[in-house]
Subunit: 299 residues, 2 copies
Amino acid sequence: MADTADQTTRIGLIGPGIMGEPMGRNLIRAGFPLTVYARRPEAARTLAAAGASTAATPAELAAQVDILITMVSDTPDVEAVLLGPHGVTEGGRPGLLVIDMSTISPVATRDMATKLAEKGIRMLDAPVSGGDVGAQNGTLTIMVGGDQADFDFALPVFQAMGQTITLIGDHGAGQVVKACNNLIIAQTVIAVSEAFEMAKAAGVDLGKAREALMGGFAGSRVMEIHARRMIDNNYTPGFKARLHNKDLQIVARTLDAFDLKLHGSRLAIGYMQKLVDQGDGELDSAALARIVQQSAHLR
Amino acid sequence: MADTADQTTRIGLIGPGIMGEPMGRNLIRAGFPLTVYARRPEAARTLAAAGASTAATPAELAAQVDILITMVSDTPDVEAVLLGPHGVTEGGRPGLLVIDMSTISPVATRDMATKLAEKGIRMLDAPVSGGDVGAQNGTLTIMVGGDQADFDFALPVFQAMGQTITLIGDHGAGQVVKACNNLIIAQTVIAVSEAFEMAKAAGVDLGKAREALMGGFAGSRVMEIHARRMIDNNYTPGFKARLHNKDLQIVARTLDAFDLKLHGSRLAIGYMQKLVDQGDGELDSAALARIVQQSAHLR
């Protein structure tokens, strides 16, 4: 196999969902031969129509490809397709490179990398930021953990899907930085919406406030994107609160594992859970502003 | 007087300090005739050498100018130079425009604007963001509260000192947005440093993490500037914690005035006070990361 993936590198994709499908489409567009596995076979239809082959099980898929990408919902889903019955370890030959692009537990990621290594299967964790729009436009931010040689090999594949592509460190490091990403976003959303509560109470126009704040040190992507949603009270996702909450639960378990007391983070984790608990899980996670608004006026 | 300030518009400046002096220098450079008052006369020397006149009291200064800029430390200082003995109201004729560019209480600002109006003196609040570097380069962000006509009149003066110049709303609105600015920055610093604590605990290189996070929705000016300081453990100011703390105390009183319960904000206000209390007030306020680090490992 070449040092760097090229258009003879066969790619497998498990999980052609709202993110996986446009990512698969960009791989086909870049000229990579693609084979897809979906738990519900009808989910693979659009990519099949675009030129992908399909496989009946993860094991069967793994036997046919050089790189196998997983893009599924949560830690147990990745564990099932990699290590479960008819899973990747049953079909994959030594030398196969698994790239998990789902957002899951950093700790579990390290364990899986070890188990795959026992079968000679290599692994990168490569979670993404940028949402479905980033997936469609091939502009995802990709945060990678694993070996340099595997990263170098996979780089052309990443470049077909993303823009800012960084090897952070060893197995799990990509997931750690994705956890940082989700945590910082949630806290910045709280910071902006709390400031907006103060501005509203003082009778200040939020659109003007945002405009002024954008130019200074309070400027951020959250001020650019999420603050707009707060001002318009329009929480069409975007990134659903339900999924952001799932990611923050991973953060919560990671903080527990390291015995870290991070009070701003715990506040954000609690607020997001509250938002989902009150039935707003399908809204964009900027709706965290609603929990801030409720808390601001509690007696 | 013309509808818009021009090079015949006489400008007064009270407070030629670390911010006021370079702002005054930019006014001279733009061709405005400048007169300066400093509590300690030697503080006016550099601007005098650059061509400014000096006045012996705020009242004397007010009698000579069309626009009078105040750039002093805190609410009581502004009250003293405007309303105190030998203050601006003693010398200023009706039609004088006072522009307070200090960062002070929004509530007190409204009161002062009312008192000045009784003497026919107009007022804008116009606090700035961007620090001494922004003041030197004439790239300050200026957040303005007051009347549209006064804003329009003063615009060429603002343009000599700043870049993003926004009329937010009525008297005090500039100070409200400046309070928002300081609050969001402090909370974003906490968000980033908490995420960094998690990353460190997981053995992840912070430089790499920052690089990856910059490209996504967690990207911010704080990630650009303050995160660099945290990684280098170099808290040369920048914006001193002592001054950021003063500004957050204004926020605290504003939240009290509106009876708002903002938990992320209270955390940030408390952490900044702690940082100053432990003797780190002269450091850049990104040193808030130190309080996060201490809290993270408390038993």
